[in-house]
Every structure is written in C-alpha cells, then in structure tokens.
C-alpha cells in the first residue's frame, strides 16, 4: 500500500470520500507492521477530533432469520429521508476450516446504488467466536468520523450480543416471532443487555403479537445503565411499518445517554476492554501479568481516549 498522507486521509474521511474510506478500512484490516503503525496514527488523529461530532453508534443483533438485514435497510431509508448519512459494518460468520466466508447482504441494505450517503463494509468474524471480529471497533471509529450514524449488524448468539451491546451506544435486539429463542435468551439474562427490543415481521399477525406480549411482559424494567426503560416495539421491515417509531426511539436513547454524558464514558470503557482483549490474544495471560495484571494495565491506560491507541501500541512494544 502507498504511504498515506495521514492528515489528508483524515480530512477526506470526514468529507466522506469513498476512496479514502475504503483505503482507511483496508489499512485497519492490514496486519503488516508498517501498516499497523500507520493505522495507530490514523486512529489517534481520528479520535482527537471526535468529541466535536455528534455521531451515533448503533448495534443491531438477533437470531439468524429474524430479518436484521431487511430491518437495517428499512432504517437506512428512514434515516436517509431524515437527511442522515449511514455507515454499516455487517459481521458474518467465517468457516473454521478454510477461514473463508460468505459475506454480506449488501443489496438488501442499499436504498440506491448511487447514494454516497450510505457505505457498507462486510466483515468476517475470523475465528472470534466469543464476539465481534477485532477489526470492528477500529473500523467503527472511521465510520463515526464520516457518517451521522454508524450501524453494526451482527448475528446474535449469546456472547456476541453482549460484545456488540458493550461497544455500541445503542443496541437493538431483533426478535423472530414464534421462535422460542428470545424467551430463552431472556431467561439466560442475555436480553438484559440491549436497549431496545423489536419484534420484526408483525405482518405475521397473531404469532408476532404473542411474542410481543411475552417479551413485553418480561422486559418492562429499567435498563441497568442510564435512566432508561427498555421499550419493546413491533415492526415489519418488509411492509415498512413501525420503522419510523423505531428510529425515533433510537434517537431518544441517544439523547438520554448524551444528557447524562454517558457516550464518551461508554466508548472509552469499551476501548479499554478492547485493548485488554487484544493484548490477551497476542501475548496471553502471561503477557498481561508481565504488564502488572489486568487492573494495573487498565490503570496504565490513561483517561484520554484520543491517545489510547498510542498507549496500546506502547504496551505492545513493551511485550514484543
């Protein structure tokens, strides 16, 4: 890859230039040492300016077949009508044998192929069974710098849901009418994590209404974070019903978080966890011990999120 002029790249990302966005995402994916260090520089520069913008990081998760992609598409079209630009990171499973993957459901998400206000990058989870692929967080920072809304779509299976809910400001769980999954998850405590529940396919009628009332009955309680009661909504991505209301609730959650100054705090907290996880992956628990243990490492990561990536790289260098 050509050495990139970082200042120029950051400017181009903020202007949503397609080629720059693509190049930045490719760079963050690139594991070669030279690329890693320019990626760190890029992320640091991006984060330095981030507090200025009011962009939102939203997660959509749920069981396979619940219609997440169609719902995403419907949301995108509502957001576009409201004049908001959208970046999507769609996470798909990879094969444990070959490492290969079939990615994306891009077309379902796109309202128009020529719309520069929407940009979709698909990601394979590349063996990260416990959660999102490692690249999602850095890539979301590029998207946040460029778009009003950054949306992470991922298949929800237990841990991965918790991970996406940790990372995103607002997480929406899409339930499939009639399947026992949602109620099972509820019992297992997984559904305490999302901020919004939506039962898709309300056009299925009675089945959807039953799931809605089951979830409604079980979920009428406060979220453990912020001043927020988890709403249970009904929608149909294919018929386009309930989507405006869903978008409204997402916006409301965002302003609730913002009022309480929780957004920076959440993102900073997640980034600390992300760094620990990466260090653990690369150097094992021995490595973390060498840095003085988990708690001490977290302490070493100072409070300014704009330099966290630099600090991460410094910790790596100590271990290498």
């Amino acid at each position: 890859m050509q050495p990139l002029d970082q200042e120029q790249l950051v400017r181009a990302i903020r202007l949503r230039e397609r080629a720059a966005l693509a190049a930045a995402l490719n760079l963050l994916d690139d594991k070669r040492p030279a690329s890693r260090s320019s990626a760190i520089t890029l992320l640091t520069k991006l984060q330095a300016g981030q507090s200025k913008n009011n962009s939102r990081l939203i997660g959509i998760t749920g069981p396979p077949g619940a219609g997440k992609s169609s719902l995403t598409a419907a949301l995108i079209s509502v957001w576009r009508q409201r004049g908001l630009s959208v970046g999507v990171l769609a996470v798909d499973p990879s094969s444990p044998i070959s490492g290969g993957a079939l990615l994306g459901d891009r077309l379902r998400m796109k309202t128009s192929s020529e719309d520069d206000g929407v940009f979709v990058r698909s990601l394979a989870c590349r063996g990260q069974f416990g959660g999102l692929s490692a690249e999602v967080w850095p890539m979301s920072l590029v998207m946040l710098a460029a778009f009003d809304i950054t949306l992470i779509e991922t298949v929800g299976v237990g841990q991965r849901e918790i991970d996406v809910a940790d990372m995103c400001d607002t997480t929406c769980y899409v339930a499939q009418p009639g399947s026992g999954d949602s109620v099972q998850f509820l019992k297992a405590g997984i559904l305490e994590v999302p901020h919004i529940l939506v039962v898709n396919k309300e056009d299925m009628g009675a089945v959807a209404r039953r799931t809605l009332s089951e979830l409604g009955a079980a979920m009428s309680r406060e979220h453990n974070e912020g001043n927020w009661t988890v709403p249970v909504l009904s929608a149909s991505a294919t018929k386009g019903s309930g989507i405006e209301a869903l978008a409204d609730v997402m916006e409301k959650h965002h302003s609730v978080l913002r009022e309480q100054n929780l957004i920076e705090q959440r993102r900073h907290h997640y980034q600390g966890k992300w760094i620990l996880k990466r260090l653990h992956e690369e150097f094992g628990s021995n490595g973390l011990t060498r840095l003085g243990g988990v708690d001490s490492t977290l302490d070493q990561l100072q409070t300014h999120s704009s330099t966290l990536f630099e600090q991460y790289e410094a910790l790596r260098q100590r271990l290498l």
């Binding site: 693509a22 594991k31 070959s98 290969g100 994306g104 192929s113 020529e114």
Partner: protein, 664 residues
C-alpha cells in the same frame, strides 16, 4: 419391411429454440426453419423482454437482441410473425415474468391478422417459481408472480382452450444441479402450488377444474444418463396421473396425461472437442422418445456449439436433422412401448418415485413450494447437488470425454472457419431497435396509452384478471417496459435467496485443494489481510450456477467472498468492490454482453477512484472476445473449458499476486 403396411405414429413437434437481433431478422430465420421441415416455433426472447425493460433502458445496454429477439411493442410482435398465419402455427414462448404481456401481444397480433384468438395454439412457459431457483428472469415477489401465472391459466382455459398456459419446468432445475429425484419432486411440488392457487383464486368453476389440470404441461430436461432419464419420465407420468386423480379428482384419463416438451441438456455440452456434443444430443433425445407411453410432445435440440457462443442457421439445421432422422428414417415410431414390462426399468422407476415422494413431503412440511423457495431451502439443496457434481468432475469420478479424460485432440475443422464456428450478432442491432422503439412511441396516441395503463393498474391493484387489460395495452401500443413498470410499482421487486450458504464437505478435500488453501492463506498474509473476492453477475442474465459454484469454492478455499446474486448494474459492482475492499472482482456473464459490461465496469471503477482493483471474467466467451477483453485489461478469462476449479482459484490468487507486485 413394407413401408405402406406399417402404421407409424405421428412424429412429435419439432422446434428449434431461436430468435436474435430483431423481430425482422428472427422472422426470416423462422420462415427458413419452417421451410426446412420444422413443425412448430420456439421463440427465444432477449433478456430485457424477459425481465420487463424496454430496449432503451440503461439495464438493457448490451443485452438487446443477444440471447433472443427484442419485443418492445405490438409492432415488433407483428414483424416477428409476418407471413406466418397464427391459426396454423404452434408457437412456444419461453417467457415467464412477462408471460401475460407476451401472450397479450400474441393475441393482439392474431386479431390484426384476422385470426380468432380462440383458435390459437401454443405454449407460454409461465413458470416463475423455477426462475427463483435457476435462470433468474423473475421480477416480482413469489405471491404476485403466482397470481399472474394463475390469471393467465384461468384466462386461456376460458378463452384460448387449446393453449398450454404453463409449462412447469424441471429443465432448469437440472441445469441448476438437480438430481432426477429432485427434478421430479420440485417440478411436481410447483405444479401443486400453481393448481392450488388457481383453485383458490375462484376464477374457474369447480366442474371445469379438470380442464385446468388437463392444460398443465411440463418442460423437461434429458441428460446423458439416458436410461435413468427415461425412467424419470415414466416416474413423472405415473406420479402426475396419480396426483391428478387423487388430489384434483380428475376422472377423464386423457386430462391426466403427462404432456411434456423437451430441450435436451445443455449443462453437459462441452466447449472442448465440441463435435462430441452431437452424439450427446442424439443419446439424450433417445431418453424422451424410446418409451412410447411417455414420449415427448415437442422436442427442441440445442446446437452442438452452444458452449462456444450463438449457433448459426447451419448449426440449428443440423439439430433439426437429428430429429428428422430419428422420426422418419428409423423404425422407432412403428412400435408400441419398448420398455413396458422390463423389471429393470420398473425397479428404477419405483426407486425414483420413492425418493421424489419423500422430498415432496419435506417441501409440503414447509408449507409448500413457495415457502420452501422463499426460505432458501430448495436453492440450497440444488447448490449442494451441483457442488457435488462439480467435485465429481474434478476428481474424475464423473467422466466427461474430452474434458477430464481423453483430452488430447486433433484440431477440429468445425471451429477453424473465419467465424470460429459461431454466429455474431450484428452490433448495429441494438441501436436500430432503440431507434425503432422511439419512433413507435412518438407515433402512438398517448392518451389511449395512458388510459390502458390506468386500467392495467386498476386490475393489478383490484385483483381482476390481468389478461383483458393487458390485451388492451397491447392494442393501445404500450411497451414492454411500461407494462412491467406498472406492475413493479404495484407488486414491488424481488431478490431471491442465493443458496450459497451451504456447509462445506470437509473430509473429501484433495491435496490440490489443500495446496490452493495454503496459496490463498499465504498470499493473504503477505498482503496483510485475508483475500477478499467479489463475485459479480452484471446485466440481466440470471444464469447464476457458475457464479454460485465459484462463490462456494472460493469460500472453501479461504477467500472472503462477497456475492449478491444476479442483475447488478456496473455501478453497483464497482461501488461494492470499493466499499468491501476486495482484492479482485470476478464477473460471470453468459448472455454474450461481456464486452459492453466490462467496458462499463471499468468506467465506473475509474470514476470512483478504484481502477486498481483487478478484474477476471467467466462465461461463454468466444476466443476473439477473450483477446479483446484481455486487451481492455481483464486479467483472466475463464470459459466452460475450465472445469478444474482449483486451477481457477490458483489463477485468481496469481492475478492478485501480480497486481500487488508479489513474486509469482
């Protein structure tokens, strides 16, 4: 034997699937074919006509007149049948999503010829369900598509009683990989879905329902395993008869007859040593003619050079002569059924019926064929079967002479002529068609057109049978694109499941596959991230089997694959490649419009600053075009000759290596 004393059966209808360039050129071809002894017509429409776009629509670029004749309006349809009296012709139209429209045009032309539409004979293929699984010329979602299909059936049963309103197709299922059992199961499940829908529509009085059943016909494939194929047809015969009697209460055995037309298999035709296709075609024809009790009603044979490009008139004549020799020279038609009473045949038939019945039960459990298609189940099963077939060819378990054994060949004199043994479509044809269309639009009475379109919309929304208002549109000078646009507006557009999310076979992997995987992985490591490949099907061509196989194989080889099904615009492909950060774009084009599409995709990549992404292409691409594509910067061209999928994968990795400056 004394010829006069022998009572010979009447031969089947002999057709050739044809049409190209323009209505006028196709009409000349039809009249020539008829003068050579062809006894019916089989119209091939171009992709814009099949998918409901006018010739001047941006999506139609490069596709006009390529795989069939362009029909934009009644003027084109009239020219297509110039000097061919429709009351004396039996015309089969391979048309599905826009079938009601093409039949409406046919009726309107009959009126202009002074022919009573009630006299018309022929077939509209009108089986949209299989389009979601193979071939891909669907437009609307399944529910409204089934409604249009049933409207056409209900209309013809009442008004054009000798018409075959639908040809339920197992043909394309086999092309998509179906085993004989799957062909039986899915075709008959489709028939159930359609007949149940006609019944539920309430358009036909209960006592007339046997007439509906009696008008349902089938379009079947015949592959090279001709003994099994014959047994498959006997199984079809028996299962259909039982279904008509038991499920639909048809008492008259004549109305329970399994009536079918055939195009023998194109999937098995090879590009290498193409002359061998002649004996393949003849053997496949035996499968549908040997057994008198299940003999085809109509046969069309592909030309020997289909895998190379478009057949010329002489190639089509050769295909017709094969039929004539079998029907007129041999003694086949002098005997009763040759296979009745054979215990070997009977055992095979029983085995196929048992397999098909259990697969039909699985489909029924899911709520029927429409639901099993929407959920992606059927497509996945087909992709799985097709993948198995490709693996068997690769491993040599399935022998194809001249392809994976006995590859050595002397140079064929058939392909060395100046035209390389195929036909070239006149490049002027598209421009002329567009000019004609625009002149036609300018000359018509717009008020009459608007009124007709309004009435069509009312019928679509209100649920009235779509045929009468469509026929009015035809008379008024509405165009194919306008008719389709009204229905798109009302019904919406559909994207079918791609079916490539099948699981990997795992253990059967060869050393060659391991080597490819290592190559993919190490190149990814050298480039810093896993190799990403976009498989794109641009244009209107819906033959996605090749693209699906490459996508599945690529995933198994360790690529991260972006594949989104058919009918993408060059802009969509270019932008997706950029957004997804792919290392390579692989295009699949079978319609012959590769030159225009590649040119457009290059232009789009250039426009968005992604011109550095390399491009490879696969399809039915003649050698001259391959040279031209390479000159345009395409890095590799794959044709049906390339059956070694590991070699294709290796080439793709090598292209990525060389464009990224890595050592080979």
């Amino acid at each position: 034997m004394n010829q006069e004393t022998v009572q010979r059966d009447r031969p089947w209808l002999m057709r050739t699937y044809s049409g190209h360039s323009s209505a006028k050129a196709s009409n000349e071809l039809y009249r020539m074919n008829l003068s050579k002894g062809q006894t019916g017509l089989s119209v091939a429409f171009d992709l814009p006509t099949q998918t409901g776009y006018d010739s001047d629509h941006p999506l139609a670029r490069g596709e006009v007149g390529k795989v069939g004749v362009p029909i934009d309006h009644i003027g084109d349809m009239e020219a297509l049948f110039d000097q061919i009296p429709l009351d004396q012709m039996n015309t089969s139209m391979t048309i599905n999503a826009t079938a009601p429209w093409l039949l409406a045009l046919y009726v309107a032309v009959a009126e202009r010829q002074g022919v009573d539409p009630a006299q018309l004979q022929g077939t509209t293929q009108n089986d949209v369900l299989k389009e979601y699984l193979s071939r891909g010329t669907y437009i609307f979602p399944p529910e409204p598509s089934v409604r249009l299909t049933t409207d056409l059936i209900a209309y013809t049963v009442e008004n054009i009683p000798k018409w075959n309103p639908t040809n339920i197709c197992s043909y394309h299922l086999q092309e998509a990989g179906a085993t004989p059992t799957q062909e039986l199961a899915y075709a008959l499940s489709t028939a159930i879905a359609i007949l149940d829908a006609v019944k539920a529509s309430g358009q036909i009085p209960e006592e007339r329902f046997p007439d509906v059943v009696g008008r349902i016909s089938f379009f079947v494939n015949a592959g090279i395993r001709f003994v099994e194929e014959t047994c498959k047809l006997r199984a079809f015969n028996r299962m259909w008869d039982a279904m008509a009697e038991q499920r639909y209460g048809v008492e008259d055995p004549k109305k329970r007859r399994f009536r079918y037309g055939v195009q023998v298999n194109s999937l098995g035709l090879t590009e290498s040593q193409p002359e061998n296709n002649v004996q393949r075609i003849v053997l496949e024809m035996l499968a549908v003619t040997l057994s008198k009790n299940t003999r085809a009603r109509a046969i069309q044979l592909p030309a020997w050079n289909e895998a190379l490009g478009l057949p010329r008139p002489w190639d089509q004549q050769w295909a017709l002569r094969m039929q004539q020799v079998l029907a007129l020279e041999t003694d086949l038609l002098e005997y009763g059924d040759l296979l009745d009473g054979s215990p070997v045949v009977e055992a095979k038939v029983q085995e196929l019926i048992a397999g098909a019945e259990s697969e039909m039960a699985r489909v029924a459990d899911q709520g029927g064929m429409v639901q099993a298609i929407e959920s992606g189940y059927v497509k996945r099963e087909l992709v799985q079967s097709h993948t198995r077939r490709m693996r068997n060819i690769e491993s040599g378990e399935l022998k194809i002479v001249g392809v994976n054994c006995f590859e050595q060949t002397a140079e064929s004199p058939l392909t060395t002529g100046t035209d390389s043994g195929i036909m070239k479509v006149d490049v002027q044809a598209e421009q002329q068609q567009i000019a004609g269309l625009q002149a036609f639009r300018a000359a018509r009475d717009q008020q009459v057109v608007d009124r007709a379109l309004n009435a069509l919309k009312e019928a679509a929304v209100g649920g009235a049978n779509i045929m009468p208002s469509s026929i009015d549109c035809a008379r008024a000078g509405v165009t194919t694109g306008e008719w389709s646009e009204v229905l798109r507006e009302v019904f919406g557009e559909y994207r079918a499941p791609t079916g490539i999310d099948i699981s990997m076979a795992g253990q059967t992997d060869s050393a060659a596959m391991d080597a490819v995987r290592a190559h993919v992985r190490s190149t990814g490591e050298e480039l810093g991230r896993p190799l990403r490949l976009l498989i794109g099907k641009p244009g209107l061509d819906g033959h996605s089997n090749g693209a699906e196989q490459i996508a599945v194989k690529g995933r198994d080889a360790g690529f991260e694959i972006v594949y989104e099904g058919i009918r993408l615009t060059p802009a969509q492909i270019a932008r997706a490649a950029q957004e997804e950060g792919v290392h390579l774009i692989g295009l699949s084009v079978l319609s012959g419009s590769h030159l225009e599409l590649v040119e457009d995709i290059h232009a789009e990549l250039e426009k968005i600053g992604a011109a550095s992404i390399p491009l490879v292409i696969g399809g039915i691409i003649p050698e001259d075009d391959a040279q031209q594509l390479k000159a345009q910067g395409v890095q590799a061209v794959f044709t049906p000759k390339d059956v070694d999928m590991n070699a294709i994968m290796t080439t793709m990795v090598d292209v990525i290596r060389s464009t990224n400056g890595l050592a080979g």
